[in-house]
C-alpha cells in the first residue's frame, strides 16, 4: 500500500500537464455545454433555464432533421466502403512484389495531404465542366471501343484457358497430380491483352469502330438539391453534393485504415496460410477464412474510428461552404457550428449545445451497438 502510494505521486506528476489540459478544455467545457443545453443563452445575456425545451425544439427543426439524416447516411455508407476498401487495398499491398514500397507510399499519399487541399481539388473536379464530368463524357463517347476491347480480351483469355486446361489434363493423365490453369494466368493474360489491342486497333482503322456522338456531360454535382435515388423515402435519399463529399472522404480515409490492416496482416502467422493451402484453400478462400477472422480486432478498431470520424465530419462541409446549398451537405457537426456562429445573428448557444449533446450521445450509442454486433460476430 505504501509502495503504491509512493508510485502514485510521481505518476500523477507526470500526468499532471495532460490532466490539467483535459480538465480545462474537456471536462470544464463539457460540463458547461451540458448546462447550456438546458438554457436559453446568446453569449450576451445571462442564461435562462428552459429545461428540455431545446431538445424538443431540435426535433421540430427541419434543418436539424436533414442534418441527422445526412450524418447517419454519411456514417453508414462511408464507413462501409472505407473499411472494405482499406481491407482490399491492404491485402493488395501486402504482397512481396518488386516496387511494392512505391505503391505503398503512393496509396498513402491522399492521407498525408491536407484535407483542405484535397477538398479544394475535388471542388474543381466536381465543377460542371470539371474533370469528373469530362471523364464520364470521354468514357461514354468511347464506349464502343472500350467494350470491343474488353469483349475481345475476355474471349481470348477464356479460349486460351480452355485450351491450356485441356492440354494439361492430357499431359497429366494417370500421373495422379492435381493441377489446373488459373483463370487469370498472367502469361495468358498478356497474350489476350496483345490480341485485344490488335483486334481493336484493326477494327478502328478499318472504320468499323468509331467514337459515339455524345453531348458534353454537365451533371451538376454541387450546386443542386437533387437527391438520389429520387424514389426512395426521405431518410434513405442521398443529396448529390453529399455523395460527392462521401466519394472524397472514402478516397482520403482508405489509406489510413489500410495502414492499420497492413500492420495487422503482417502479424498473421504464415503457418495458418500454409495449413490452409495444404487443405486446398485457394487465395480467395485463404483471404476469407484466414485473413479476415485474424483481423477481427483491427476491423473493430477501424469501424469504430470510422464511425466516430464520419459522424463528426465537419471540415469538408465547411470548405464546400457557399458553393453548395447548405441543406444538401449539412451534417450534425456543421449544424452545431452554424447555430453557434450564425454570422450576423446572435448565437443560439443553448440550442447549439443541445445539438452537440445529441451528437455525442448518438455517437456513443452507435459505437456501443457496433461493438456488441462485432463482438458477437467474432465469438461465433
Amino acid at each position: 500500500m505504501r509502495a503504491r502510494g509512493r508510485e502514485f505521486l510521481p505518476a500523477l506528476m507526470f500526468l499532471l500537464p495532460f490532466l490539467l489540459v483535459l480538465a480545462v478544455f474537456f471536462v470544464y467545457a463539457g460540463v458547461r455545454a451540458v448546462y447550456f443545453s438546458f438554457t436559453d443563452y446568446d453569449l450576451f445575456n445571462a442564461p435562462q433555464w428552459v429545461g428540455l425545451a431545446n431538445y424538443r425544439a431540435l426535433f421540430s427543426d427541419d434543418r436539424f432533421l436533414t442534418a441527422l439524416r445526412n450524418s447517419l447516411l454519411f456514417a453508414a455508407i462511408v464507413t462501409t466502403f472505407q473499411t472494405i476498401g482499406a481491407l482490399l487495398s491492404a491485402s493488395a499491398v501486402n504482397r512481396r512484389v518488386r516496387g511494392m514500397t512505391f505503391f505503398r507510399s503512393a496509396f498513402y499519399m491522399p492521407a498525408v495531404t491536407s484535407s483542405v487541399v484535397i477538398t479544394l481539388i475535388f471542388l474543381w473536379l466536381f465543377q460542371r465542366l470539371g474533370g469528373i464530368n469530362y471523364l464520364i463524357a470521354a468514357v461514354s463517347r468511347n464506349a464502343p471501343i472500350i467494350l470491343t476491347f474488353v469483349i475481345v480480351m475476355v474471349l481470348a483469355q477464356g479460349l486460351q484457358v480452355l485450351v491450356e486446361r485441356w492440354r494439361l489434363r492430357r499431359r497429366l493423365r494417370g500421373a495422379g497430380q492435381q493441377r489446373t490453369v488459373s483463370l487469370l494466368d498472367p502469361a495468358l493474360l498478356a497474350v489476350a491483352l496483345v490480341a485485344a489491342i490488335i483486334v481493336t486497333t484493326a477494327l478502328a482503322l478499318l472504320g468499323y469502330l468509331a467514337p459515339r456522338e455524345v453531348q458534353n456531360v454537365a451533371i451538376n454535382w454541387l450546386q443542386t438539391r437533387q437527391e438520389v435515388p429520387a424514389s426512395f423515402p426521405f431518410w434513405l435519399r442521398v443529396p448529390l453534393p453529399l455523395a460527392a463529399i462521401m466519394f472524397q472522404n472514402i478516397f482520403t480515409t482508405i489509406p489510413t485504415y489500410m495502414l492499420m490492416f497492413l500492420a495487422a496482416m503482417q502479424d498473421v502467422p504464415r503457418s495458418q496460410y500454409e495449413a490452409a493451402a495444404l487443405d486446398g484453400a485457394n487465395s480467395v478462400q485463404q483471404f476469407f477464412y484466414v485473413t479476415v477472422p485474424a483481423l477481427q480486432p483491427v476491423t473493430f478498431l477501424v469501424v469504430t474510428l470510422g464511425l466516430i470520424g464520419t459522424l463528426q465530419m465537419f471540415d469538408q462541409v465547411a470548405i464546400f461552404g457557399s458553393s453548395v446549398p447548405l441543406q444538401s451537405v449539412i451534417t450534425l457537426a456543421y449544424f452545431v457550428y452554424n447555430r453557434m456562429f450564425p454570422g450576423a445573428q446572435l448565437p443560439e448557444v443553448g440550442f447549439a449545445s443541445a445539438a452537440a449533446m445529441f451528437l455525442a450521445l448518438l455517437t456513443l450509442i452507435i459505437v456501443t451497438l457496433q461493438r456488441t454486433v462485432l463482438r458477437a460476430e467474432g465469438e461465433r
Binding site: L43, D61, D62, Q127, L129, N220, Q223, A344
Partner: protein
Amino acid sequence: MRRLVTALLATLFAFSWANAQTIVRVQGYGGQDPAIVQRLIDEVIGKGLADQGITIKYEPIETDYNTVLVNSLSAGTAGDVFYVPGEVAPGFIATGKLLPLEGLVDTSAFIDTLNAVFTQDGHVYGIAKDFNTLAVFYNKDMFDAAGADYPNADDDWTSFEAKLTKVAALKPDTYGACIAADTARLGAFAFANGWTTFTADGGADITSPAFADAFDFYSGLVTKGIAVQPADVGAGWPGDCLAREQAAVAIEGAWILGFLRDNAPNLQYGASFLPKSPKTGESGNFIYTVAWAINADTKVQDAAVKVLDALTSPEAQQFILEQGLAIPSRKALSDNDYFKQDTAEAQANKIVFEGASHGNVYGFQFGKVGTDYMSPINNALTAVMTGASDSAAALKQAQTDLNALLTR
C-alpha cells in the same frame, strides 16, 4: 513575497504614469488593411492624436471577422474601436455592445443613406468609413469589335440585353456578361422594380411580380447564353472573367479596380450605371459599407471618440480617396477634384460614388438574419441558371426556405 509584488506593481504604475499615453485598441480586417491604417496613422492622423496623449494600436483579424468579433465582444476582450460591416450591423447592435454615438460625434456630416445602415430605433451606432455601390464595368474593345454601343445611363434591361447579345455573338466561348448566382447582385435589379428586402410586417416576399420579373431577367441572361457563370469558364469571380476577356461586362463595385490594375493593366474599360427597369424607369443599387463603431464597455471612451473622429476626418478620407483605396463617406467630399480626373479609374470611382444617390438604393443589409437571407435565393438562381428547375418552382421553394429562416 507580498511586499515584493506590491513594490513591483508600484514601480510599474509609476512607470506607466510617467508615460501617460492612453492606448486605444482598434480592430479591423487583415489583408491590406493593416498597411493602409498604418500609413494613415503615420502620415495623417498619428501626430495630432499623439499630441493629445493617444496612441492607436491596430489589431488586424485575419480570419472570419464577424465570428471573432462576436466572441471577443461577449468575452469582453474586443477593441475600443472596431469595424462593423453593414450587413451584420443589426445583429451587432442587438448585442447592446455598441455605443450610441449621438451627442459624441457629428453624424450630420456623413451621407444620410450610410448613416441609415447603422441606425436602429433612432440611435446611430457606427460612422461609415467608406462605401461602395455596383456599376456596370465593360470592356471597350469587345463592344467596339461587336459594333455595339457602350452601356450607358439611359439603358433599360431590354436595350442592355440587346447590346450584350451582340457582344456574345462575336465569338464562341466569349460572353456578353459574367454573372454569378448571387443575391448581392440580383437584389439591385429587384430594387429597380420597387421590391424591398422586407415587407411592412417584417416578412419577405420573393414571389411577387417585382422580384420574379428581375429574377427572370437576371437568370435569363445565363439561360439564353448571353452571360456565363464565372465557375463555368474557370474563373473565380466576375472580375476574373472581365480581366481575362472571357466576358465583356461584370457588375461589381470599385473593389474591381485594384484587381484590374494588377491583372489586366492594358484592359480598356469603362463604367456605367446599372440599367433601369423597363417597368419603373428606375435603376436600383446596393450600398456596401463598413463603419467604425465604439465598444460600449470601453474604459477609454473619450480617447476612443477622438480616435473615431480622426479616422473619419476629412483629412483621413481625402488621403484614402487619393490613394484610390475607397470612396469617402463625407458629404463634403462629393465635389472632390479627384473625381474630375480623366482616368478610367477616377471616372469609375465617380460612377460608384454617384450610384449611392441614383434610383432605388438600399444598404446591403438583411435585418438580423444577415447574409443568411441570401442563401435560399442563391440556390434558386443556381437551380434556374443550370436548368435544374424553372423559375416559378425555384422561387416557391426559396420563399418556403426564407420563411423558415425568418421565423426561426
